[in-house]
Amino acid sequence: MGKAKSGNKEVIAKTSWKKAFKRDWQLYLLLLFPLVMVFVFSYAAYPGMRMAFMDYKPIRGYAGSEWVGFKIFKDIFTDKEFTRALRNSIVFNLLDLLIGFPMPIILALILNELRYAKFKKVSQTILYLPHFLSWAIIGSVAYNMFRPSTGLVNMVLMKIGVIQQGIPFMTEKWHWAVTYLLIGVWQSMGWGTILYLAAITGISGELYEAAMIDGANRWKRMWYITLPGIKGTVVTLLIMNLGKIMGSNLERLTALGNTQVADFQYQLAIYIYNRGIGNAKFSPATAANLFQSLVGLALVLLSDRIAKKLGEDGLL
């Protein structure tokens, strides 16, 4: 069904799905790929969630494992290690959101203002690169850069006399927290600008021209045209990011962690990996993961509702 506006009268052109398919079958065919991906890797795994309600034994399979109701959930909620992992996950994800979310927006605004096209392209490419590095590499580089006495940064700072003793960027939990968050921002901010830059290109050039004629400087154009122009995208991405508040990235935590920062490093991804894969306890791992996902979903729905109440389009 297609909708078109002609003056004040809305004309609705009805198209049957057969006609639509015949006309755009190549597009539908291409759509098949992501649909199969989603089905196979998301929905096809759903039956596995049964494990959260069973005393699941891999060898016995679903048929042979015993149903235990909510016992597994009760067990994990009384497990202090789970509580610690949950607390750390929430705190660090909120901080990630607080610091990491505005950065791509700011960066996109800055990039958009660059006038020298070649410089802009090179900058964008450099900013995107960290996204393609694996966390194992980033972790290794980070340790070589930030170790207290043999890390490059500390060595340079000590050499030029700025500090007498190495800063424990990676080896003291509070310093680590800052390093962990900033490395996260560095890794993701460039890539995060893509959607905002795309949204910015959708803003009509006439608006900028009119503003310039009215004497608006660059800052004002950014504030009154660009930012409102990408507000919808910002809200959508914010809602999506709120859904990740309970999540955590095992690779990032493992690559950047060590025993001295275990107090903060111990987040849900580690709890789930250790219990599930490491200790072959799939039921508590699934229960923790399910809980994580449900809270994430609830947060998305809630923020979507709030956004709509505030007059935004929302996500759903």
Partner: protein, 591 residues
């Protein structure tokens, strides 16, 4: 028009390729539920026992009584074998050691895996497939395979605890000893001749088929090399015999400008912080049985306290790299190669890249090998001594996957028998004459650098393929065997010292100052439930806290963390082991 048709065709091909790509990623169907033991068919109280019916393991279906699938006559070892009528797939695990290996990189498809297929598989209509197992994370790999209902036909490991855990988790099926005797008489006889056939049972049934381990009462292949030139430099005439002497030496080395001579890396998984050299000998049997293994670090024991207190001393006196907990094993090797640390330990073999690289970078350096004294030496101050961990009297343990069919079990036993044949074992261990080894008189000597050859052997002369039969090569005498594993092509020859180390360890063992770990004829739920968390999650954290606290804080912190460790499951492990020990389900210390 033509362009449009082309676009359509391209879209069709691309979509098809992408969808097929996704679908192939889904893998094969898991084993059917018919092969999965269910609650209903599991005998009461026998959670770990495979169900009967269709999945009944080979014990109730003798090898020669198959339905046309098994060889017609398997009653007389290899002579009696005939090929399977239908192809049988035999999956054998093989360690993938990644960067730490010194053999060919593709462990599942190389000259030697093909050689096995050509000389064994093809002959008996068996498709031999090797399944790579990450050496540094064996349990995880097997868990994932079990979860996917995709265990290989046999499970193999050197650690008794792991097999016991798998049995407890239901990964294994018992086998028929009579069938093993019939199908694999050479393998079976090796067990009998080495006196290791008494270790095959778990919970009253035969689960384990054991490879042999020549000189198992020692640990003679694990060697420590140290900087003799550094000792000479600081005027010390012998390798430290006690921990007190060791500290004195490190102080002298630091004073001479060697920064962090003790090196240091983060603690890594199973086998970390073994406290054999910190125990009181003769050992108390209950302490040995309940906390004496090396799978779960024995935090809360006196021996572990001594060990960690020494680590604390190394750290606080600046002998150990203060960033050790951020450094991995690879960095420790790099430190030694780069001439930054005093010593390095590893398994010796005729081809040892670490030493070759060391001499390349330090051509004037002089190394020596730590030789175990045959006299027991106890350090009055630290309580440490020169004891060591003898390996098990048996080598690798092989068990059959719970869902292996009778034909697959039989094929596995045939593989074990075939690999036990002298000529086969020799070829797998030494390779091809003129390619992988040459004779020096009547002694084969491996070619040190096999890299680039099609016939390049796997890690440590293919050990991961023939470990099913024996843990190490033997030429009939310790002198010849040590000659064969002495590193070749180096400026120094360590043969005499490695041999002397063997004799020293052997003497200590015979004097009862070194004891193999206690083995239990049962598995422990507490080990399954808490073992990994204690070992991987808690111990590394507590250990580093204890290493880095001030010496004044150490005792109180040790007590506090020990209690937390016990509460987190270690007490339950100890209690269950004690119960089994009291029930007579364990080996005993020699009298």
């Amino acid at each position: 028009m033509k362009k449009k048709t082309l676009q359509r065709a391209a879209a069709l091909v691309m979509t098809g390729a992408m969808v097929m790509g996704v679908m192939t990623g889904c893998g094969s169907e898991p084993a059917t539920n018919d092969n999965t033991p269910s609650n209903e068919s599991t005998p009461a109280g026998g959670d770990t026992t495979p169900a009967g019916g269709d999945t009944t393991p080979a014990d109730s279906e003798p090898a020669s009584g198959g339905e046309g699938e098994t060889p017609a006559n398997a009653a007389a070892g290899m002579e009696g074998w005939t090929a399977f009528e239908s192809p049988v797939t035999l999956q054998i695990p093989v360690y993938d050691r990644g960067d730490n290996g010194n053999g060919c990189s593709d462990v599942v498809n190389n000259y030697w895996t093909n050689w096995v297929q050509e000389n064994f598989g093809a002959k008996y209509n068996i498709n031999v497939q090797y399944i790579a197992i990450n050496r540094s994370d064996v349990m995880t790999d097997y868990t994932l395979l079990a979860t996917g209902q995709d265990l290989p036909t046999v499970l193999m490991e050197y650690d008794y605890d792991k097999l016991a855990t798998w049995q407890s988790e239901g990964y294994l099926q018992p086998y028929d000893m009579e069938q093993l005797k019939t199908v694999a008489p050479t393998f079976y006889q090796n067990m009998v001749d080495n006196g290791i056939d008494i270790y095959t049972q778990l919970d009253g049934e035969d689960y384990l088929a054991l490879g042999q381990r020549p000189y198992g009462n020692t640990n003679y292949t694990w060697i420590t090399w140290y900087r003799q030139d550094w000792l000479d430099e600081v005027g010390v005439d012998h390798y430290p015999a006690t921990s007190a002497e060791r500290l004195e030496l490190f102080q002298k080395l630091v004073d001479a400008g060697h920064e962090y001579p003790a090196g240091g890396t983060k603690v890594a998984g199973a086998g970390a912080d073994q406290n054999y050299g910190w125990r009181t000998y003769p050992q108390d049997e209950v302490t040995w049985a309940t906390t004496g293994d090396y799978q779960i670090p024995a935090l809360s024991t006196e021996a572990q306290k001594r060990l960690l207190k020494f680590e604390n001393e190394l750290y606080n006196r600046g002998f150990k790299n203060p960033e050790y907990y951020t450094r991995d094993g690879g960095e420790a090797i790099a430190d030694f190669i780069n001439g930054k640390t005093f010593e390095w330990s590893g398994y010796t073999s005729s081809t040892l890249d670490t030493l070759a690289s060391f001499y390349e970078l330090n051509p004037d350096a002089k190394l020596s090998v730590v030789v175990a004294s045959s006299d027991f030496v106890q350090d009055d101050e630290w309580g440490s001594n020169n004891s060591f961990r003898p390996t098990n009297v048996f080598g690798a343990m092989t068990a059959f996957a719970y869902d292996a069919t009778p034909e697959e079990v039989q094929a596995a036993m045939m593989y074990m028998e075939w690999m036990s044949q002298e000529d086969v074992l020799f070829t797998m261990q030494w390779g091809l004459e003129g390619v992988n080894f040459n004779y020096d008189g009547d002694t084969p000597v491996n070619v040190a650098d096999q890299s680039g050859m099609d016939e390049q052997q796997g890690h440590n002369n293919n050990v991961d393929y023939w470990m099913i039969v024996t843990a190490s090569k033997t030429l009939g005498s310790i002198e010849k065997d040590i000659a064969a594993i002495t590193p070749q092509g180096l400026p120094q020859n360590f043969y005499e010292d490695i041999l002397a180390n063997y004799y020293g360890q052997n003497d200590l063992y015979n004097k009862n100052y070194a004891n193999s770990d206690c083995n239990f004829a049962t598995s422990f739920q507490a080990v399954t439930d808490y073992g990994n968390i204690l070992k991987e999650e808690l111990y590394p954290r507590y250990r580093d806290q204890l290493t880095m606290c001030t010496p004044e804080e150490f005792d109180a912190l040790y007590d506090q963390l020990s209690q937390e460790y016990l509460n987190a499951g270690y007490q339950e492990v100890i209690d269950q082991r004690l119960e089994a020990y009291n029930a007579g389900l364990s080996t005993k210390l020699p009298k």
